[in-house]
Symmetry: C2
Subunit: 640 residues, 2 copies
């Protein structure tokens, strides 16, 4: 007993020493970089030391081991201490910490998965817990792995609502494998946080959100390890460890002082003074290691089943009328039959997005995320980080709610799939708050994202399959109205390829549409045909990458004249994508789209009112051809 | 006493009857429309009747009266009962309710300020409380008006984190004039809410977030009015009334039943049955009116001071190096000296966005909103709805967090001003999570928004003044690095106007830049000049509206050749804006921009790595001119 007590004291001393070692590493790295956030590393140092070298079980040489516990640094600006912990844990040489923030180093200013020990990028605050929820759902519900997900948060980021969205969902799903740690250092970037050193506020809030909260002195190693032990034994809910800390802890001239948020200590006197204060406490090094996963005696992970984007054949008849949103759900459900990695999430709109079809077919792989889009996307990113292929859906306009999470997903190199339904004014009477008119612009601007916009059932089903088979973020835009099938079931679809729907050698102009406007364009085609005007009609299908080659070819063959029509803002959607792609070739792109805040009404009324219906298209085509004729006439006469 | 008790009973009966009257109105209107959400109106009916005809003080004939209490329907899909309450309160004829959702009616599917009794659009859930916070700050802190702000929320939307951001800020600022009411009907759109009829969860959460919570039976009028009375007497914090209700209350075949979320009752038998159940209870009509504001005896509102966008003269010297973010703060502080309507908000980045300059000059008109961007923007929309000119700032990348609020602000016809700092890769070492590369695309797609991108101090100061003077949403993008002043202090700037910075008759190509890339373009200009290549250089300044006229003219005068360069994604920013504007004229637009997820590094390294620095520009210009020459050559020889 006495022996054991002494051993515990030794371990505590070693962990304390490791805390100071991490402090030193963080100061040295940021000073070398000449920028960064050392003070927030110092408040978190003892917590990080305890998680890494006491609680966490992780095969450092194999970050992909599914049995590993996971650690998410939600307060991403403390990146230096994360890198320090991995380095001290043997992931890479400690010396490499001095490459922090350099262009040729993967130790970036905020964590990104350029290093394999980081699964999700952080740095936009308040997102880590959502990713942790996704990881915990994966372990607890899908893979039945008995590991733990640790998420270290700052107190400043507790002001972000997304944290509370995640907290609510975590307790709803009883994620007892999720352990949140809040580093309450009381200081934000520009002033004290809302509650300063009052840890009780966070304690009460987590309890009210269905968590078990444990409050500790975040610089008392015995208290920290006891809390981490206790966290393992809470069986029915997630656990929040609320740690009272001091920013800059251990360095007297910055400890608990304002004005040191994003500031490195100056090399020379400042650093020397800091190290002189810290080094004595870092002397007891011991032989701390990250605990291996084997010791747990957990069951083996399930054998990885091969990912497949094959599913039962497409079976829609030409002319059959279906909404692409319905087809999304049906195709996803089918895909789930053959690909066990496909999972789905929705934000209480599953009966509108039709993701409920997947839920009914695969209830164990569907997660209702309720009306909390930020957390839905963050959770999906967490699931993707664990190897799943998550499809998250809601009204396209409500995906704007999660734009920061989507942006960060790109930095996370995430395999996230998004479906936004109810595109544009064609939804009708519900009015502008429910109409997505910005989603194409928003998603096109996400680095590396693929943006697909199917117009009918066959292309919609292919869009879902292509999304699953493609590595990276894919967005699928679906529509509310029914549209007729126009492609044979064996029509090949590719990311980056448009479809030429109407083509003749006499075409005088190319009309490019997508979704409902493709069918308006086809109606305009008929009207114009009857007047002796021949138009080429292109289904854009892939907004990003956009099919510059086909568009260029069509433009060249039709008087260098293209008219785009979209149920979307005139900025950043089909028109800009096409103009941006082919204007370098001197092709003239004219745009029709929604140029004002729309109102409620019947879909057809609204398409007409905002100038994107068959009539508006036909009129514009006539005007453009008249203009082109006039422009050509003087040239002709000049030549004559 | 007995008399009073009887009177109270009479009043209660009259309010109950009004609740049923509103139910009937909601059913009739939605049935007439053939769509809508009657069941959620029925759960809220008694609460709405009590707020409108018992608690609220409002001059119905003058919705602009600053002494009015305010009512925000956060659960916007209950729009029919909002319209019904205003109609029964005398705002407009009850008969007009039958125009619900029709194209020529202002009674839209979800509330918008097309009717003057609605100050902020709702329909994207979880945003109303933030707007209420803005209104309450206006009354409590700015105008010192003793009125009340009522916000009616649904239980489903309590899953949105933005609600908890607002809740936290409301108690932080001790907004005792803010009364939130949660209609806990237990049913969401696609299934029961997370907690069904358990009102205790919401009660505990609001208490934990620093509110006084009062739980009531939401169909017991005496309990409701007692809670509304009690709410007036809680002096030190906001009040949440948690009301247990039933969706579809009063109509037996839909009451508390799933599957009736977004479904109108069918005209004929369904409606008849419902009305037969409700009409007896709606018989005691009494003479209920909305209480006038006069009875309160509140002090007169402060005399409206004239808005002015004039401020002290711009005073920067040519060549002086300043970051546009610094100038933003300084210009805003100056503007505040002469325009008392200007207020500022920030999300704990005020020492980076430099909004702290405004805070120091005008502490009473600055609101720290902490790290909660959604609520910051929603609060600003609330302030704007009360006549203020709110400037909300944070890192531009974090404005993505509030995209849904910004989208809704457009529908609210809001006078919202946003400033996003730290544009693009030029921020350097902090890495991609802190780099805005999507903000221009995002903001351009907002209907009616103005997007300004000043490159140096003089244009930045003008951007702030133009924003304040312009009615509507304006976004200003600022940069981290210092840039030299290139415009004289009296240079005129306009929304929608670009600046031609270098021009000669020999120009062979036009280079369009903004922010740091304008200076890269100017450096490339010098290099090319030395090689005998003359380039025109344009400062885009206004992205939306974009200056198509100047761009067209420049393009035409320079071989129909434009090269755009931007520290932004290649999608939806400067390149697409320019191509979208001038490709119709056959001008060839080539684009340079950031085409992948960037990494940490020094600003100059990153500009080079992602191909948007002076060298990349000069190389591309040479290549384009070589190409153009080659293209021209065959033509020339053919002619020859």
């Amino acid at each position: 007993m006495e022996q054991s007590a002494r051993t515990n004291q030794d371990l505590t001393r070693e962990l304390e020493a490791m805390g100071n070692r991490l402090r030193i590493d963080s100061i040295v790295a940021t000073s070398e970089a000449g920028s960064g956030h050392p003070s927030t590393c110092l408040s978190a140092a003892d917590l990080v030391a305890a998680v890494f070298f006491y609680a966490m079980r992780y095969e450092v040489s194999n970050p992909k081991n599914p049995l590993n516990d996971r650690f998410v640094l939600s307060k991403g600006h403390a990146a230096p201490i994360l890198y320090a912990a991995w380095a001290e844990g043997g992931a890479f040489p400690v010396e490499r910490l001095k490459t922090l923030r350099k262009f040729d180093s993967d130790l970036e200013g905020h964590p990104t998965p350029r290093i394999p020990w980081v699964e999700v990028a952080t740095g936009s605050l308040g997102q880590g817990l959502s990713c942790g929820v996704g990881m915990a759902l994966n372990s607890g519900y899908l893979e039945k792995i008995d590991n733990r997900i640790y998420v270290l948060m700052g107190d400043g980021e507790m002001a972000e609502g997304s944290v509370w969205e995640a907290a609510a969902l975590a307790s709803y799903y009883k994620l007892n494998n999720l352990i949140g740690i809040v580093d309450v250092n009381g200081l934000g970037q520009s002033q004290p946080t809302m509650y300063g050193h009052d840890t009780g506020v966070y304690h009460r809030r987590f309890e009210a959100f269905g968590w078990r909260a444990i409050s500790v002195d975040g610089h008392d190693m015995a208290q920290i390890t006891a809390a981490l032990d206790e966290a393992l034994s809470v069986g029915d809910k997630p656990v929040a460890i609320i740690a009272a800390t001091k920013k800059g802890k251990g360095v007297s001239f910055i400890e608990d002082k304002e004005g040191w948020h994003g500031k490195a200590l100056k090399k020379g006197e400042e650093v020397d003074r800091a190290l002189a204060e810290l080094e004595p406490g870092a002397a007891v090094t011991g032989a701390l290691k990250v605990k291996p996963v084997k010791e747990r005696g957990a069951q083996a992970p399930p054998a990885g089943e091969p990912a497949s984007s094959e599913s039962a054949p497409v079976q829609y008849a030409m002319g059959q009328e279906l909404a692409t949103r319905e087809v999304y759900g049906a195709a996803l459900a089918k895909l789930g039959d053959t690909n066990p990695l496909v999972v789905a999430l929705d934000g209480d709109t599953k009966n509108s997005t039709y993701s409920e079809k997947f839920m009914k077919a695969h209830p164990d792989r569907f997660f209702e995320c309720f009306i909390a889009e930020q957390n839905m996307v963050g959770t999906a990113v967490g699931l993707a980080a664990m190897g799943k292929i998550p499809f998250a859906s809601t009204f396209a306009c409500f995906l704007t709610r999660a734009y920061d999470q989507i942006r960060m997903a790109a930095i996370s190199q995430s395999n996230l799939k998004l479906c936004g339904s109810h595109a544009g004014v064609s939804i009708g009477e519900d009015g502008p708050s429910q109409m997505a008119l910005e989603d194409l612009a928003m998603m096109r601007a996400v680095e590396g994202a693929t943006v697909l916009y199917p117009s009918e059932a066959v292309s919609a089903e292919h869009a879902v399959r292509l999304a699953a088979a493609h590595a990276g973020i894919v967005y699928i835009r679906t529509s509310r109205p029914k549209t007729p099938v126009i492609y044979p079931v064996d029509e090949p679809f590719e990311i980056g390829k448009a479809k030429v729907v109407k083509r003749s050698d006499e075409d005088e102009i190319t009309i490019v549409g997508g979704g409902v406007t493709l069918f308006e364009a086809l109606s305009a085609y008929d009207v114009l045909k009857a007047e002796g005007i021949s138009a080429r009609v292109v289904d854009i299908f892939s907004l990003k990458p956009v099919d510059a080659e086909t568009l260029r070819e069509c433009g060249r063959e039709t008087n260098n004249l293209i008219l785009t029509v979209e149920d979307h803002s005139l900025c950043g959607g089909i028109g800009d994508a096409v103009a941006g792609a082919v204007s370098a070739d001197g092709i003239r792109v004219h745009k029709l789209g929604v140029g004002e805040v729309p109102r409620s009404g019947e879909p057809a009324e609204l398409l007409a009112a905002y100038g994107i219906d068959r009539k508006a298209i036909a009129e514009r085509v006539r005007a453009l051809l008249r203009q082109a004729g006039q422009t050509r006439e003087p040239d002709d006469s000049a030549r004559g």
